[in-house]
Amino acid sequence: MKKIELLSPAGDLERLKIAVLYGADAVYIGGKKFSLRSRASNFDLESIEEGVKFASAHGARVHVTVNMIPHQEDLAGLEEYLKELERIGVTAIIAASPTIAMTAKKAAPKLEVHLSTQHSSTNSKVIEFWKSKGIDRVVLARECNLEEIKETTKNSSLPIEVFIHGGMCISYSGRCVLSNHMTNRDANRGGCAQSCRWKYRLFENDKQINDEKELFSMSSKDMMAAHYIKDLMEANVASLKIEGRMKSTYYIATVIRAYRMLIDAIAEDRLNDEFMAFILDELNRAENRPTAVGFYKGLPKANDQLYGVNGAGVTQEYIATILDYDQESEMATILVRNHFTAHCEVEVFGPKYTKKMVLNDCFDELGELVEVANKPMQILKTKIPFVVQEKDMIRRIIDKSDRNVY
């Protein structure tokens, strides 16, 4: 089985580092220019350079999204920008505009060019076309099911990248302009307002036919394709992509770590039901919306849509990050991320381990005992009876077994 790439999103340098440390082979990020997701805290060239250095030092690669559908005015400075990305050591750009792709090929030939999913590529003939233009990889449309992915990959003349996890555009990517019409924000230039997730009244001619309490929405559950990773690896897909440049460090750490463990277990032929259940449980702890399998098993059904809840399921499980650890005193310095009370049950985890414990007494910078940690970004000290590293995380254990709402 060929080694498959685990491709993580990152909205800033901190998240890039987390993604790399928690097992990503490559990280895709957006620059300040030419990128979609304007609300993601996109990288300037200096941070891209730092990110590339960090990733390289850990054997990982950085891809930069240059994936806007540009109007003429947006193209100023493109060539210089691409040359800078090449100089910095970025591995690939992800592009949708042929002008951007071809400019990269000409001005910055060391950059690989990956064709964005904005093109909704669904077959090998399309890939043949883009290969003839020098494109190095194609990101398939999320509308392909598993069999279609397998068949297309088999016939493809280029490496294939597919989405395996995260939010899903309800429309064929790049073809949705709901946001343009409803908010004047250009979805294809980073301004998507996610109007598809809003609530709508439905009329037949002049008569409203839906109940005010159950308005229509186009919102989809997030994708979670853990069950299909083995098939995708066997199909020789080149890269498994996780969506979510705007997601938190906790999300990145949890999701990347879970897929890293899953991919490694499959590669080493040690995947079993029990381990899969553990992976699924881990993925459920990330701050996803409710999940489904997207198009992997065919056309999504009613229960793959979100009609009641639209927001990501923010759980507040993630309570702290480890900043430092003193082995002699076993005291850890932690950064508070979410409200918690002392002596709660927690899991401490890093890229390669998870350990349960009851949180010990926590002390603030003045040495005062803190019963309730309710100040995000406060620095506390607490005793952890095993060795932890900077960027390891602490999360609460919450029993959600009797919940039937998200």
Partner: protein, 298 residues
């Protein structure tokens, strides 16, 4: 010479549309066509093409669906069938159609219509350089940007001038899923459904077919005031989208655009007349004078 294209609304409307000023009619077939106005079978298509040619007009085929790997053979077969019938133009969205047309030597009959993706001159030129007949420019850009594309490209750039604008195409059965969720009678195949966002007033047509769910704008684009400026900048091909239009309405619109192009009617006056005459259509100039922003306005 300017050319106005319109989808064939009904098989028996061909002559009416041609007499009203259409120089190219788009015909749809089941399976290969996205958002067909009416679907023909192959014998009907043959007759339609012959009839259109009798009037020295062009017959175009709507090949705008996305094709999956297993559908490539059908795509190729249908493409060749239509080519043998002397179809003049093939509108396509999936680049596989171009690959196949190139393979069989008729790329010059193809028009790339990716709906939203052509927003600048160099992207337009990239596709035109493939030797295709033309490209359809995005209707999400301003008049000024359209004119820049017209001035700075070699080849045919087609602009949509009138009709409801497609806002979203999902492969999912969004209406059927919703009706199932709320336990309502499934009315997904109705062409009389509209969405209204809970805080807004615009009524946006929505319907579902075998290719998924399609949502159109709550406004109707109208370019009577701008068409001549586009023409002066080198845009020669214009398109009317007759979604939610009767044959009579479409014919009137065609006649009026021809009159504006011939300077027989004043575009601004016609625009105001249409606003009054068709209040339910929410006549607007779309994005022609309204630039979209990249980020949320503060």
């Amino acid at each position: 010479m300017s050319l106005i294209t319109i989808d064939c609304i009904e098989l028996n409307a061909i002559e009416k549309l041609i007499h009203a000023g259409a120089k190219r009619l788009i015909f749809s077939l089941s399976f290969v066509s996205a958002r067909p106005c009416c679907c023909l079978d192959l014998p009907q298509l043959r007759e339609a093409i012959d009839l259109v040619h009798k009037y020295d007009c062009e017959a175009a085929i709507n090949f705008t669906r996305f094709f999956m790997e297993e559908e490539l053979n059908v795509c190729e077969k249908m493409l060749l069938e239509c080519h043998r019938m002397n179809a003049d133009i093939f509108y396509f969205t999936d680049m596989c159609v171009l690959q196949l047309a190139q393979l069989h030597g008729f790329a010059d009959k193809c028009i790339y219509d990716p709906q939203t993706l052509i927003t600048n001159a160099s992207d337009a030129q990239f596709y035109l350089d493939e030797g295709i007949h033309g490209v359809t420019v995005s209707n999400q850009i301003t008049l000024e940007e359209i004119c820049e594309i017209g001035k700075n490209t070699k080849g045919n750039c087609e602009v949509m001038i009138h009709g409801r604008m497609l806002m979203m195409h999902s492969k999912r059965r969004l209406l059927s899923s919703y009706f199932e969720f709320v336990h309502m009678e499934n009315k997904a195949d109705s062409k009389d459904l509209y969405l209204m966002e809970e805080n807004r007033e615009e009524r946006m047509p929505i319907y579902e077919d075998d290719q998924g769910t399609h949502v159109y704008s709550g406004t109707t684009l109208c370019s009577f005031q701008e068409i001549n400026q586009m023409k002066e900048c080198g845009i020669q091909e214009f398109r009317i989208s007759p979604v939610h239009m009767s044959v009579e309405e479409a014919c009137q619109i065609l006649c009026d655009y021809q009159d504006v192009l011939a300077h027989k009617k004043d575009g601004s006056r016609l625009f105001e007349e249409y606003k009054e005459k068709y209040p339910q259509q929410n006549i607007s100039t779309g994005f022609l004078h309204r630039a979209t922003s990249l980020v949320k306005e503060s």
